[in-house]
């Protein structure tokens, strides 16, 4: 009598398991065929099948999240394209306007030269814009290959500073430097570092009113580069967007600022394994870059 009961119980459990698995297979086939939110469910209570279904459902959830992220990225891209069109449209319209003016007989030769200068400068703006977009897109696609070698941050920083020297003195900005000379080399890409410093200075220069402060020193086994400028264009609420694409303090995007400079800096820094933060203290805007890949030994 007892053995019969035991046998019946075992048979029951076996059939139950089989039915659960068959049910799950059927549901999975249906899910693959149609566009559905459903997850796999139990046909009847069963501990181990439940665990298996949980894992599979985890995968399904991942798949759905990826689709959602993909959609979000597509939307983002469309927005970006709209922004790019907007940014390109204004200088282009201007150029077209001026070329039309050039055809006008009533315009003097002097004025025509002036117009040609304007067209050239607008065209250069367009070029810078397009280069920035191109670079950014390649950065985002992780297509830029870094040539990693030991580089001296101090040397590169000084080179960039020298290039900006004329602009800075021309605008009458006070420069304050605090640079450590004997820093250990950092494993990085020379061009990327140059680009980083260039963009940082360009940003400080463009937005700084009267003072720029640069420091680069060894702190806690890491090198920290800080670029600070005083400004009245940024509000505390903007700080969380500071590295966003197309973010500019000028809301109407009327100037020549692409809003991509800092975005590129962040991507490059993080691509090299470093960290970047931005801070705002009263009217002082500051960017800190922490380099971690120091050459050992």
């Amino acid at each position: 009598m007892v053995t019969e009961c035991l046998a019946a119980a075992l048979l029951f459990l076996y059939v139950k398991s089989r039915m659960n698995i068959r049910h799950a297979i059927k549901e999975l086939k249906e899910l693959n065929a149609q566009d559905s939110n459903q997850r796999l469910k139990l046909h009847s209570p069963d501990g181990s099948v439940e665990t298996l279904l949980c894992e599979i459902n985890g995968l399904l959830e991942q798949k759905q999240q990826q689709a959602i992220a993909y959609e979000a990225k597509e939307r983002d891209l469309r927005k970006q394209i709209a922004n790019i069109s907007h940014d390109l449209r204004t200088p282009l319209t201007s150029i077209i306007g001026y070329t039309q003016l050039l055809r006008d007989d009533r315009v003097t030769a002097e004025e025509k030269m002036e117009y040609v200068d304007i067209i050239e400068s607008k065209a250069q703006t367009l070029q810078t814009l397009i280069t920035s977009f191109y670079d950014l897109s390649r950065l985002e696609a992780n297509e830029l290959d870094f040539q990693l070698e030991p580089v001296s941050l101090h040397t590169i920083l000084c080179n960039v500073l020298v290039a900006f020297y004329q602009d800075i003195t021309g605008k009458g900005i006070e420069m304050e430097l605090d640079l450590e000379e004997n820093l250990p080399p950092v494993i990085a890409d020379r061009n990327a570092v140059t680009r980083i410093f260039t963009n940082l200075f360009q940003n400080a220069f463009r937005h700084g009113r009267s003072r720029i402060r640069v420091s680069q020193k060894m702190t806690d086994h890491r090198i920290v580069t800080a670029v600070e400028n005083d400004t009245d264009e940024i509000a505390p609420e903007d700080m969380e967007h500071i590295f966003d694409r197309f973010f500019t303090s000028d809301r109407m995007r009327t100037g020549q600022n692409t809003g991509l400079g800092l975005t590129i800096v962040k991507k490059l820094v993080e691509g090299l394994g470093g960290q970047i933060t931005a801070g705002l203290e009263e009217d002082r805007f500051c960017i800190h870059i922490t380099w971690v890949n120091l050459l050992k030994g």
């Binding site: 469910k41 009847s44 439940e50 459902n57």
Partner: protein, 306 residues
């Protein structure tokens, strides 16, 4: 080929001699948020009860995900979730235990499913509080939690905003929009608070005294209840002559007290007043009015207020 999540053909429900729902033809497209609009007692809940299987139709056909027939309908219902009228749970169990009960019943794998949905509706800190001690807002949220726990493709909600505080309303709205946009969940939502629906629905079904009076997409509706220009004139018949003759405008309505409403007018209100005055029709006042959903609905059901 449009895919319909819900289709009814001639769906009718009779109680004795009274028809709570007469020959309803509804189409809910996949991915839509379908707003079912009607006064209390118009038949919204009756319709929903038949969709969920709580009530059996007297006449007519019902299709869920293309399936009809009792067995297929029940299988299709496993892809749906419904909160019809006030959410009901066992009063002597906590919210968590209630959800666990349904989780086991619906064969949802993994205990964490309960914690996940409680977090979504912000009820994760209720501990062992029994359902009978829940506020109305908490009850509504628990109902929503149950509804999303089985990852439905079709959500049926009967007046889900009822009794919620403003914060709760915002949470529900955002949740529904997120579910619809991100996961493509089709939603059928009924309400008599039209303003809430107007922020949500992509498609409307107007129901009155058991009849589906109209089904219309949100875009069509906005264009139909477009802004109008309302002028009060001295001489309405003359004004209408001028409108037709000089302004070539035929889409207008003459209302009592020499008031004229002009729809679909391309120009400015100042051009209308200028034209009228030039032709000897005095204009007492002119203003641009944004029509709204309520007006449309009231007009649609013939101005009857139940």
């Amino acid at each position: 080929m449009k895919e319909y999540v819900l289709e009814t053909n001639g769906l009718t429900k009779r109680y004795g001699s009274a028809e709570a729902l007469s020959r309803a033809d509804i189409r809910v497209e996949k991915g839509a948020i379908y707003g079912l609009v009607g006064n209390n007692g118009a038949g919204k809940t009756t319709l929903m009860r038949m969709v969920t299987g709580q009530a059996l139709p007297t006449e007519g056909e019902l299709k869920l995900f293309g399936a009809s027939g009792l067995r297929d309908l029940n299988r299709a219902r496993k892809r749906t979730s419904a909160v019809v009228e006030t959410p009901s749970f066992y009063p002597y169990l906590s919210g968590r235990d209630n959800l666990e009960y349904y989780r086991i019943q619906r064969g949802i794998a993994g205990r964490q499913a309960v914690d996940e949905v409680l977090e979504i509706v912000d009820l994760q800190d209720t501990g062992r509080k029994k359902f009978k001690n829940y506020s109305l807002g908490m009850k509504q949220r628990l109902g929503l939690a149950l509804a999303v726990m089985n990852h439905p493709d079709f959500l049926i909600l009967d007046e889900p905003i009822n009794g919620l505080d403003p914060l709760g309303i915002v949470m529900v709205r955002n949740l529904l929009i997120k579910l619809n946009k991100e996961r493509g969940i089709t939603i059928l939502i009924s309400s008599h608070i039209l303003s809430e629906l107007s922020n949500l629905a992509t498609c409307y079904g107007f129901i009155h005294k058991g009849r589906v009076v109209e089904q219309i997409s949100a875009e069509e509706l906005t264009s139909k209840c477009k802004d109008y220009i309302e002028i009060v004139v001295e001489d309405a018949p003359r004004a209408s002559q001028v409108l037709e003759g000089k302004l070539h405008c035929s889409t207008y309505e003459v209302l009592p007290h020499s008031t004229i409403r002009i729809y679909h007018y391309e120009g400015t209100s100042s051009s209308i007043s200028k034209c009228l005055v030039e032709n000897g029709v005095g204009v007492e006042s002119i203003q641009e009015v944004k029509a709204n959903l309520e007006d449309y609905f009231v007009k649609l059901i013939g101005g009857e207020i139940c």
